[in-house]
């Protein structure tokens, strides 16, 4: 009896997880507001000919507006979480590039893979070691002060 109950509750959690995974995004009006901000900043970047894309400009402007208190973060929290949660969906179309670039399946693709594997190893190792070195240096100088 209890085992069936436990089994049932497990099935329930599984269903809940599955529903959660494919639930439509929440906060549509907030997403609309973020789209409007992006449109505005895109237009601003174009007319001012800034060497910065509209989306990055929009992010900086929104951050400044949040920090100065003009914009209440509660207005955008849910919409922003939804967009960031589903970001990978938005760049799937760009990742379909192999459809138009068959050369990626040959030697060129292998070379790119090589750059990525070797490059990522170098980048991760040096970044981590530099930050670690800086962290220990600070510990030492703090220790000397105390």
């Amino acid at each position: 009896m209890t085992s069936t109950l436990i089994h049932l509750s497990r099935v329930k959690t599984k269903i809940a997880l599955a529903v959660d995974a494919i639930a439509p995004p929440k906060g549509w009006p907030q997403i609309g507001l973020l789209i409007a901000i992006w449109w505005g900043s895109d237009w601003l970047a174009r007319i001012t000919a800034l060497p910065m894309p509209g989306s990055a400009l929009g992010m900086v402007l929104l951050l400044l507006a949040l920090l100065s208190g003009w914009v209440n973060p509660a207005w955008l929290r849910q919409g922003s979480a939804s967009l960031l949660n589903h970001m990978l969906l938005f760049f799937i179309p760009a990742m379909m590039a192999p459809l138009g670039h068959r050369e990626l399946f040959g030697l060129v693709g292998l070379k790119i893979l090589g750059v990525i594997v070797v490059g990522t190893t170098i980048i991760m190792t040096t970044t981590a070691l530099i930050v670690e070195f800086y962290y220990r240096l600070r510990l030492k100088t703090r220790g000397a002060e105390a």
Binding site: L62, S80, L83, F90, V115, T121
Partner: protein
Amino acid sequence: MTLAALTNLPPAFWGIATLGLYGLARLIYARKRRWWSSPLLVAWLACLALAFALRVSYADYLRGTSWLLSLLGPATVAFALPIYEQRHFIRRHWPVLAVGVLAGSTVAIVSSWLLAKSFSLPPDLERSLVAHSITTPFAMTVASGIGGIPQIAAVSTAVTGLLGAVIGDGLLKYLPLRSSFARGALFGMGAHGVGVAKAYELGQEEGSIAGLVMILAGLTNVAASPLIAAALT
């Protein structure tokens, strides 16, 4: 006859198919959380397989799905929220974040460029690979700003994230890292979104650091892309 009928699929089909396969990939990931079951990999390979099976051209595929791509704009704007929420953390730890982001970005750009050169890749591909370590929307922006192909940047960035999660796991065993900052920066700088998820598995602090390093490195690279473009010519 059937092939002709298939190649004449309406553009909306590809939008719906992409959404459907993405939902399916998320379902699989909800049940099995591994790097190889990541929706990034599963949804991508499933869409590619379907597109190749139905012999759609890239232009036709994009006709039905470019609206998804344009949502990367507002998604980039949305990054302002997590930065704002972490403002106290940034104020307290800005020196170490700055060291990680600046050193990491410099190493990333220089090493990718030199590696691409030494593998003698065509110039437009070299330029697409320079920003492969930063998060995809920023990597695509940088690529188009310095004469690369944004779509190639998107592919190589995604592969970087997937492989980076595995490479980072391996490196953690050998590197003498005592601070959570170093472990977080490793994943945030080397494997962007996938790395951030991985860093959260190590701990809350590692995760926040990875997330911040990822966003700040993206912004730094976009801001520096005119400089990068000038340096490459």
